[in-house]
């Protein structure tokens, strides 16, 4: 891959490292942490939606699985935090595995509906199984001890999440440029062409679905420990839409787009606190306008504009 693609990563590392010294208080640090958490989920989702071209409207379900798996296993069974996270990711992966084969036989709208249905069923189960999950009111989550580090306090969490973000971006960039990544993009460009060169499109879609589910689950677990409290909303339809909005606004099939999308849309509700209650309307508007005028999302459209300028066009 061209060296320039990794340039963005260095920029992000620099920003992440310097940010705490620039931010005025803990509130902003919290915001940055949430942005990063979302960004990693979106990275995974973008692989599925942007690169592989498979619409998924139920992704928050996997976030919820991760969150509740950690929550339940650590608080009610006393499991170690890292192991619980791993278990959550495995569970999410298994569900994705089982659901993927039939789901990906579908196209377009049907695919959207199937993923939607999956997400909603997960969130309903989480909301209804009161005894285990604490029902619609949610449940508290104990502190996380990550490889010997006590994750408490805004500062520790910030660095932990930033490291995870940077690693995820790096890994995603690598993946896109690898033969696997090429096959994925080919699948999106033309399923028939991909097949003809030997890509088993069924297996690839499955693999990327499971991968995205695992990312979401791990981040769900981290979010659970970070916030200290979870409720079934985390797996809800609304959250799924927010995630898809981040992918779409930031840029489909764009690693940096995922980050930009997550940053912008995590910031949005904060920016709108003055206009109480308008967040839903604005999210909807943003979604529509971006899709109509910038269907490829911010980052790819900007990149295109820049490329044209450079060519003197």
């Amino acid at each position: 891959m061209k060296r320039s693609h990794y340039l963005g990563l260095y920029v992000i590392i620099a920003i992440a490292a310097l940010l705490p010294f620039v931010l005025p208080n803990d509130f902003y640090r919290d915001l940055a942490t949430r942005m990063a958490l979302n960004a990693v989920i979106v990275l995974g989702l973008n692989l599925l939606v942007g690169y592989a071209g498979q619409v998924s409207l139920g992704h928050a379900g996997f976030v919820g699985i991760g969150a509740y798996a950690t929550g339940i296993l650590t608080s009610q069974f006393g499991w170690n935090g890292v192991v619980a996270m791993g278990a959550g990711a495995c569970l999410a992966g298994i569900i994705a595995l089982v659901a993927a084969r039939p789901i990906f036989a579908l196209k377009g709208n049907y695919l959207a509906m199937a993923t939607l249905g999956l997400g909603i069923i997960i969130s309903m189960i989480l909301a209804n199984e009161n005894k285990i999950t604490g029902g619609p009111d949610g449940m508290p989550v104990p502190e996380l001890v990550l490889f010997g580090i006590r994750c408490a306090g805004a500062s520790t969490w910030y660095w932990v999440v930033m490291v995870v973000l940077v690693l995820s971006i790096w890994a995603s960039l690598n993946l896109i440029d690898s033969p696997f990544g090429r096959a994925l993009r080919a699948l999106h460009g033309s399923e028939i062409a991909a097949q003809v060169v030997g890509v088993d499109i069924g297996r690839y879609k499955l693999a990327i679905f499971v991968l995205a589910a695992a990312y979401a689950s791990l981040m769900g677990s981290l979010t659970a420990h970070y916030v200290g409290y979870i409720s079934p909303d985390i797996a809800g339809f609304q959250h799924s839409i927010e995630l898809v909005t981040m992918v779409v606004v930031g840029g489909m099939a764009s690693v940096y787009g995922s980050v930009v999308g997550a940053v912008l849309l995590t910031m949005l509700p904060q920016a709108l606190t003055a206009f109480e209650g308008w967040d839903t309307a604005v999210t909807g508007l943003v979604l529509m306008l971006t899709m109509i005028f910038l269907p490829r999302g911010l980052v790819p459209s900007l990149a295109q504009r820049l490329a044209k300028l450079r060519r003197g066009g």
């Binding site: 579908l106 377009g108 069923i121 309903m124 189960i125 209650g277 839903t280 309307a281 306008l289 109509i292």
Partner: protein, 279 residues
Amino acid sequence: MTTGAIYALSAIGFTLIFNASKIVNFAQGEFIMLGGMLTFFFLQIELPLAWAVLLAILLPAVIGTLIQRFAIDLAKGADDVVLVIITIGAATFIRGIIKVWLGKNAHSLPPLLDNAPIEVFGASILPQSLCILAITAVLVVALWYLFGRTMTGKAMLATSFNRTVAQLVGINTGGVQVASFAASAALGALGGVLITPIALTAYDVGIMLGLKAFVAAVVGGLGNGRGAIIGGLLVGISEAMVSGYISSAYKDAIPFILILAILFFKPSGIFGAKSAERV
């Protein structure tokens, strides 16, 4: 059964739009919501019931037209994904505006007829339900006639199969698309007006109702009018049965389990047709 009729109405709406433009309109649910909420609003400002209902059906039709004109038309030729997301965006936007304008509370409406339940074959039915079923039946017949017998209906079907050819034959495809959105919105709104006296209405009922109506449309076969109706009734009845015999907590999950089942076993729905991609 009653809810089934409502789902059926909205499912027909989905079918209309899908038939005219191969788009699935995720904002359909919001039209149902608008029907109920707008009627409530107009009653609040002291409009007579008939006017309130009429406006509550016309306004969504106008909004539907706007969505079609601005959102869908502008994004001409875009991916499926993009169009789906646009309608979701529209839905979210409508929901957001209502949330801000009319608040988050739930409201009800006075029923069309008397409130006392009638005994029929040992089960008690609300007069409102009968109303709904009757109106739905009438509409269904009207639509069947429209699609099967009239030129307009056939024009709509032609547009959905191949826009270019339809244009060549002289069909006003733009008009057909707009009409389909408007009609679909009106149908949804009507459903909303009818169901509100029984179930409440609030700014966020659109999500669930819309999704379930979509399930109904898919179960019956996307694009098939008869299927939409049967699908709607099926979903409604299944919900009621699960709610009564198993557990009412999971009542809402039934439509989604249904849709997953249908999508896995017979994606084209009960009456749907298969489609293939030519190489």
